[in-house]
């Protein structure tokens, strides 16, 4: 945007409101009146009143806003994008990751690494899977690209570490098998779109 | 007993601190030592029953005068050592010693004369501030007023001297000629 355009841009359409600034008193008397007004009517004692009211509300009416963080945590939005979770299949309990490596490929900070092998059941098995949280920028591409909805962002946001690079291994991120029933799945990021069934072109693969 | 201990303690401290003041190369040390010495001197005043004088010493000397010195020192570089060519010390100390001796002799003259009468004797039953007030506002009223005027004049002249275009350099003659007295404008 050139300077000319910048100056001529139409400000009027935007919802700006001009605030009337207080008139500066000209005479000494006016100034005195302003001091008196400020002191007794508006500012000083209103300030004291507000803080006192808050204190009373806090102490006696239970309007305490603080959460004792390490001991109690606020529920986090299911859409929150923190440390990754590896999900399991709800039916069998087997982990969903098939080791396709798409997350590894798409990761823009190059922090996902996996080792795979050919297992006894002739399937691709993920032997190790790590995310370097020193590098991860939580962009969510991995969750978006995952064809099996195996990797999603979870709500674990405490990722401070003593080391520059903190790694999470597959087991750390995987839903514990006994917590399988609590595994939640939400519409939205990294999930099947609500109208996914309609979007797929019907192919006669009825067999 | 207490008086003696206090006197000697204060004496040693005062002399030491004032020596530091006079001999130190560092302005900050000098200033600090001088201020501390002032506090000690107020201690003497308390010992001598001049409570009011002691408090005035504390408030005026320690609280105001020395603070002004400190404030002025911020314009100079207080952490740097003072570089000055000191003349040969021996002569000065000899001279100083002789003067001291003479002073002591002069001051101790009253010891031998017992006939000195108190012009303004202490008022019995009045506390020190009361008696000071009584004397000050009767016999010394005119000097007191003069002193007050003098202080006022000093204050104004100090402001004018130091306040001249504080933000500008005064290194050229022209600047000095062109400077105006700037009074603080009320822009509130």
């Amino acid at each position: 945007m050139s300077l000319e355009q910048f100056k001529n841009r139409n400000v009027g359409e935007q919802p700006y409101v001009l605030i009337e600034s207080e008139h500066r008193p000209k005479s000494g008397m006016g100034r005195f009146q302003r001091v008196v007004n400020r002191t007794f009517k508006k500012e000083l004692f209103t300030g004291l009143y507000v803080t006192m009211r808050e204190m009373i509300n806090t102490l006696f009416r239970g309007e305490m806003a603080a959460v004792k963080y390490p001991f109690e945590k606020l529920p986090i939005s299911p859409r929150y994008r923190a440390i990754h979770d590896m999900l399991r299949l709800l039916e069998s309990g087997h982990y969903r990751c098939i080791g396709c490596g798409l997350c590894e490929k798409i990761c823009i900070s190059n922090c996902i690494k996996m080792d795979t092998r050919y297992d006894e059941n002739q399937r691709k098995e993920v032997t190790e899977y790590t995310i370097n949280f020193g590098r991860c920028i939580f962009c969510g591409y991995c969750a978006e690209v995952c064809p099996e909805l195996a990797i999603v962002h979870g709500g674990r946001y405490e990722n401070a570490s003593e080391q520059r690079a903190s790694f999470s291994l597959f087991e750390d991120m995987l839903t514990p098998i006994d917590a399988l029933k609590q595994q939640q799945e939400f519409d939205g990021f990294g999930a099947v779109t609500p109208n996914a069934d309609n979007a797929i072109k019907k192919t006669p693969l009825a067999y | 007993m207490y008086e003696q201990i206090a006197f000697y303690l204060f004496s040693v401290l005062t002399i030491g601190l004032f020596l530091v003041t006079v001999l130190s190369k560092n302005l900050l040390y000098s200033m600090t030592a001088l201020a501390a010495g002032m506090v000690m001197i107020s201690g003497f005043f308390f010992l001598l029953g001049a409570d009011f004088l002691g408090v005035v010493q504390l408030i005026v000397y320690v609280g105001a005068v020395m603070a002004l010195y400190a404030f002025a020192m911020m314009f100079f570089d207080a952490t740097r050592d003072v570089k000055e060519k000191n003349p040969n010390g021996a002569w000065i100390f000899l001279l100083g010693g002789m003067v001291a001796l003479m002073m002591v002799l002069i001051f101790s003259a009253p010891i031998f004369s017992e006939n000195i009468q108190a012009i303004y004797p202490s008022i019995a039953g009045a506390t020190n501030p009361q008696s000071v007030g009584l004397v000050l506002f009767t016999k010394y009223l005119v000097p007191f007023e003069v002193a007050a005027v003098m202080l006022l004049v000093a204050m104004i002249s100090g402001i004018i001297l130091a306040g001249k275009k504080m933000d500008q350099s005064l290194t050229t003659e022209d600047d000095v000629l062109n400077t105006e007295i700037i009074t603080e404008e009320d822009d509130k």
Binding site: - | F7, S11, T14, I15, F18, L19, T21, V22, L23, L27, S30, M31, L34, M38, I41, F44, L48, A50, F52, L53, V56, Y61, A64, V65, L68, Y69, V82, K83, E84, K85, P87, G96, G97, V99, A100, M103, S108, P110, I111, A118, I119, Y120, P121, S122, V132, V135, K139, A147, A148, M150, L151, V153, A154, S157, L161, A162, K164, S169, L170, T171
Partner: protein, 100 residues
């Protein structure tokens, strides 16, 4: 017992210290400090005399000395600042523009 002599001797010593400072130092601020020392030594002498003779005149003088000292500081410091701004130094040897 502490007598007047003690105070007078103390006062004399302090005066000497102040005097040595005044003669010896070349830095204007140091000169001021030394002057303060001299003034205080006088104050002690006055207060002591006042105490031992039961005469309040001594204290009165001390008050006036304090007042003079305060005035001196106000004017003197203003002058010092002007000087420093002009010459960049407070050394007496440097302030020799009037020297023939």
């Amino acid at each position: 017992m502490i007598g007047l002599n003690h105070y007078l001797i103390l006062s004399g010593l302090l005066f000497t210290i102040g005097l040595v400072g005044v003669v010896r130092r070349k830095n204007l601020l140091m000169l001021f400090f030394a002057t303060e020392v001299i003034l205080n030594s006088a104050n002690i002498a006055f207060a002591a005399a006042s105490h031992y003779y039961g005469d309040l005149a001594g204290q009165m003088f001390a008050f006036f000395i304090i007042a003079v000292a305060a005035s001196e500081v106000a004017v003197g410091l203003g002058l010092l600042i002007v000087l420093y701004k002009k010459h960049g130094s407070l050394d007496l040897d440097d302030l020799a523009s009037m020297k023939g």
